[in-house]
């Protein structure tokens, strides 16, 4: 008889709740009447994410000590719980944004089911305790996202995005899997902490196979986090995918990839810290340089935001490269406003897209701030948040990340980050300039008749994102406390 490990269902509950919601969404696609399908599926999906939020907070509350569960394959700690809170919150906002999207009726149930499943997979991934669960979680949510990207089958861009994401994402997964195999081959272990123990015990830190394995795993995660030079898919996929999906991907995928990278590197490879900190710092600098410089010349807002998300991967990699407690806190803190404003910014783009019926560019964004004051003001704070201006959480995030780098003694990395911020101002302010400073009349655009669509859920999601963004600045103390206890789960 096969021995089965005892399963701590409570620790897995955030994923399970979201999965349950996904199952109901799928069923509802068949069982509910057509007129009820959209509200019902969205409601259940939102409920799943709220349930995930609640369960993640409970896990956070009930887990003062980090430990491994389910035959050491999954780790139960506050670090994962905070990341799950971010994922579930992003999912909830994404539901609000998706609700007003024009979607083909026969896909609605599946859409929300996939969204909830992706959230569940991400929540599972951040708990990963060995290389198997890591790969499982990564593929779990990636497959959902491949389909979500291509779900608008009548849009060529959407299909192209889905295909591109599938091929390049598959490539990334393969690299990661190969790397895992090499690490296993070198150490004979799969568990993160077991790898570290074996490395120490057998004095493997000079083993070239282990080193190559580490590099390939890092590359695989960099694909998911869209860090340069593994970012090539990002602009096309972000541009082509349905905008609400793009928002969710930008926020949640990046968050889990980076959180997991920090966990894996710090738990499994403490002996190689001198190597991977340099490697991550290199990835950070490359992302900052490439993302910011390429964003300067973009005219389509979605592509601009895609490049900006590459540069933000760079900022967050600085926190990973710092490899200290402050860096772990900074990463978690940074993700909170970042996730909110990514989704919020794409939501505003989605609203404008529907209003115009065409791709949003900096040109046709003009006058938007005055026409839709709430969305405009929110977009204003999002851009300031991306650029790291005070009175937004983005500022505090950058401050903490730079502090972490400085604490490690890498003041040069602070200078790189500061220079990148300066470059980024140009295109973030270009969005504000387009929204407020170039009246539609000046460009000869025809005024848009009628009052804009109401889109209550989208507006509330955007306003919620704005509140998170500004609130994270003023109420930084509770968030810092939250992330401090979370970061203590890592051996940094």
């Amino acid at each position: 008889m096969i021995q089965t490990p005892s399963v701590d269902w409570f620790a897995l509950s955030p994923s399970l709740v979201a999965l349950g919601a996904a199952a109901i969404c799928l069923l509802s696609a068949v069982l509910t009447p057509r007129w009820l399908l959209r509200p019902f599926a969205a409601f259940v999906c939102a409920l799943g994410f709220v349930g995930g939020l609640v369960m993640a907070s409970l896990v956070y509350w009930k887990t003062p000590e980090a430990h491994l569960i389910v035959a050491d394959a999954v780790s139960r700690d506050r670090f994962a719980a905070v990341a799950q809170l971010i994922v579930m919150g992003s999912g909830l906002l994404a539901v609000g944004v998706s609700y007003s999207a024009r979607m083909r009726q026969d896909h609605i149930g599946e859409y929300y089911a996939l969204l909830a499943t992706a959230g569940a997979g991400m929540a599972f991934l951040v708990q990963a305790g060995n290389l198997m669960t890591l790969f499982l979680g990564l593929e779990w949510f990636s497959v959902c996202l491949y389909i979500l990207c291509a779900i608008e089958t009548d849009l060529v861009g959407s299909l192209e995005a889905g295909l591109k994401y599938l091929i390049i994402g598959g490539m990334g997964s393969a690299v990661l899997l190969f790397g895992s195999a090499l690490v296993y081959g070198s150490t004979g272990e799969l568990g993160f902490s077991a790898i570290a123990d074996a490395t120490r015990l057998h004095d493997l830190s000079g083993d070239p196979i282990l080193l190559v394995g580490l590099a390939m795993i890092l590359a695989g995660l960099a694909f998911k986090a869209s860090a340069a030079p593994f970012h090539m898919w990002t602009p096309d996929v972000y541009d082509g995918a349905p905008t609400p999906v793009t928002g969710f991907m930008a926020a949640a995928t990046k968050a889990v990839a980076l959180v997991l990278a920090l966990r894996l590197l710090s738990v499994a490879f403490p002996e190689k810290e001198d190597v991977w900190t340099i490697a991550v710092a290199f990835l950070a600098c490359a992302s900052l340089a490439w993302g910011n410089l390429a964003a300067l010349v973009q005219t389509r807002v979605k592509r601009l935001l895609a490049y900006s998300s590459i540069s933000h991967a760079g900022f967050m990699l600085i926190a990973v490269a710092a490899a200290n407690q402050l860096g772990a806190r900074a990463l978690l803190y940074y993700l909170i406003p970042y996730a909110a404003i990514s989704i919020g910014a794409f939501a505003v783009v989605a609203a404008r897209e529907r209003e115009l019926g065409e791709t949003v560019t900096l040109e046709n964004l003009s006058g938007f701030g005055w026409e839709r004051p709430v969305l405009g003001a929110a977009m204003f704070t999002f851009m300031l948040g991306f650029a790291g201006f005070p009175l937004t959480g983005g500022f505090m995030g950058k401050f903490l990340i730079f502090s972490a780098a400085s604490e490690r003694g890498w003041n040069w990395l602070v200078i790189v980050g500061v220079a990148a911020t300066l470059v980024s101002l140009y295109y973030y302010l270009a969005v504000i300039r387009a929204m407020y400073m170039r009246p539609a009349a000046e460009l000869g655009l025809a005024p848009i008749g009628g009052s804009p669509p109401r889109e209550v859920l989208l507006t509330s999601a955007v306003v919620a994102a704005m509140i998170v963004n500004v609130g994270a600045f003023f109420a930084i103390q509770p968030l810092v406390d939250l992330t401090r206890t979370a970061a203590q789960a890592l051996p940094l």
């Binding site: 806190r329 201006f389 401050f399 730079f402 502090s403 500061v418 101002l425 400073m437």
Partner: protein, 490 residues
């Protein structure tokens, strides 16, 4: 109550801004903003009656609570004597600017007046901060409303002007952010009162360059002419009158207070830049083809002079610099508002097309003449007192600097008299029609209080210059092992 005064001065306009943005009635935005700005002035005057200028320990209206414990960052506000004067300048000029914006009737009033109030909060916050990160936050926060105020309500070249303005100032202030972080982590605290001074040249430069751009000092002034020409007159008044003084605050409170060693090392360099800026700015002002150009470049010159006072490191020079900072703020605000009034009547600021406006417009002529005469530092005026103190202060350090500074004063007379005669005297210019009215009562109501402040200071300049600090009372609160006044640094 009195310990709350600094907090009230910061958060009253911030709350007002939120109120203006959220109230869905555009018509009340202007009056409401004006009311809040005047209340702000009232609170400041109230503070004037409560403040103890001879205080030797800790800032006045001191208030401190933990903001986030992680890196010892606190919300710490309070005023030293000199920063209280600068804050007073800020609230008075902001009130005048808001009143002017209301009188002119700016479009989109809710956004406009909300931003003006937000700007007030940020500027007062800069002068009130006693924590380095808090200072940085307010310093950066000033950029947000300024960017929009210039970009939306500015002239035809506003987009280019805003890009230049933002890139210049942010390049400086992001370097400052790096300096703030490294300084705060290495000294273990971001508090301006508690943290130990540093000897690092690099950190000093990080701060000094940011302030040099903001002031601006000579090679960093590239943004100035465009920003001052393209913004609306009341925003230009605020920019040159108030925002530039944030740099003076930074030079005194941070560069001098936290980096006494590098401050001394770089004294000659910065004095040289200031002198070059003084002479170059004056010459440019003399050559400028339009009213705003004259005021803009005179602003560059005056900031150079004030910087000379700060870097003279004597109690005389520094108190002269503070007095002159207040003078210059009031003068340039008045002049920019008058420039706005002239442009409204003639639709041009070009000096070639103006002239002869004194005839039939006695109020305009009187106000412009009085302000101009004070600006050129005629003996007996407050500007004369300020410049005299600065020159007397720098004379002890090196007479050459004093000679160069005195040249600037001569040049000031040249460009001011040129401005006055080009606008008021000569033959009436082609843009000046007989129908162009004199200053209206409302405009007088805005400008005359500013001029009245200047006249009051002319009668009693010691009101400020003797309440800044001397050998016995420190310029700002600092640790006991440092001398009461930096002037006594050997």
């Amino acid at each position: 109550m009195s310990s709350w005064l600094a907090t009230i001065l910061v958060f009253l306009p911030l709350g007002g801004a939120l109120l203006v943005w959220l109230l869905p009635v555009g018509r009340v935005a202007g009056p409401l903003a004006l009311l809040i700005a005047l209340t702000e002035v009232g609170f400041w005057i109230n503070g004037l009656t409560l403040i103890d200028f001879d205080r030797t320990s800790g800032p006045s209206f001191d208030q401190q609570t933990t903001w986030f414990s992680d890196l010892n960052v606190s919300y710490h506000v309070g005023f030293s004597a000199f920063s209280f004067w600068l804050a007073g300048l800020a609230v008075v000029v902001m009130a005048a600017a808001i009143a002017y914006g209301f009188w002119v009737g700016r479009e989109r009033p809710r956004a406009y007046f909300g931003l003006m109030l937000f700007l007030t909060a940020a500027v007062v916050g800069v002068f009130a901060s006693e924590d380095l990160l808090l200072f940085y936050v307010f310093f950066e926060a000033m950029m947000i409303p300024l960017y929009v105020l210039i970009g939306v309500w500015g002239g035809p070249g506003r987009l280019g002007a805003t890009v230049k303005f933002v890139i210049y100032t942010m390049a400086g202030s992001l370097l400052m952010l790096a300096a703030v972080i490294v300084f705060g982590l290495s000294s273990g605290s971001f508090d301006l009162v508690d943290s130990n001074p540093s000897n690092s040249t690099w950190l000093f430069l990080g701060f000094a360059i940011a302030f040099a751009v903001k002031a601006p000092l000579f090679p960093f002034h590239g943004w100035l002419p465009d920003a001052y020409r393209e913004s609306s007159p009341e925003v230009a008044a605020v920019l040159s009158g108030v925002i530039s003084k944030a740099a003076i605050f930074g030079f005194i409170r941070i560069c001098l207070g936290k980096f006494p060693g590098p401050f001394d090392d770089f004294r000659n360099v910065i004095l040289a830049l200031a002198v070059v800026g003084l002479v170059y700015g004056s010459l440019m002002a003399f050559r400028a083809p339009d009213v705003r150009g004259v005021i803009a470049y005179s602003s560059l010159a005056q900031m150079g002079l004030i910087t000379i006072g700060v870097f003279s490191l004597t109690s005389m020079g520094v108190s002269g610099a503070v007095l002159q900072a207040v003078n210059h703020g009031l003068i340039s605000a008045t002049l920019f508002l008058l420039a706005g009034a002239i442009e409204r009547r003639t639709a041009t600021g070009s000096l070639n097309r103006l002239g002869g406006m004194a005839r039939g417009r006695p109020a305009l002529a009187t106000v412009l003449m009085v302000t101009g005469v004070i600006a050129l530092a005629v003996p007996g005026s407050s500007a004369f007192a300020g410049e005299f103190l600065i020159l007397a202060g720098i004379f002890g350090f090196g007479w050459g600097w004093a000679v160069a500074g005195a040249t600037g004063i001569v040049l000031a007379a040249m460009y001011m008299l040129r401005l006055i005669s080009a606008v008021l005297h000569k033959e009436p210019g082609p843009a000046v029609s007989d129908a162009a009215l004199d200053l209206r009562p409302a405009e007088l109501g805005i400008v005359v209080p500013l001029v009245a402040c200047l006249l009051a200071l002319s009668m009693w300049p010691a009101a400020i210059s003797e309440r800044v600090g001397d050998e016995n009372t420190p310029l700002f609160p600092q640790k006991a092992e440092f001398p009461a006044f930096p002037g006594s640094v050997p």
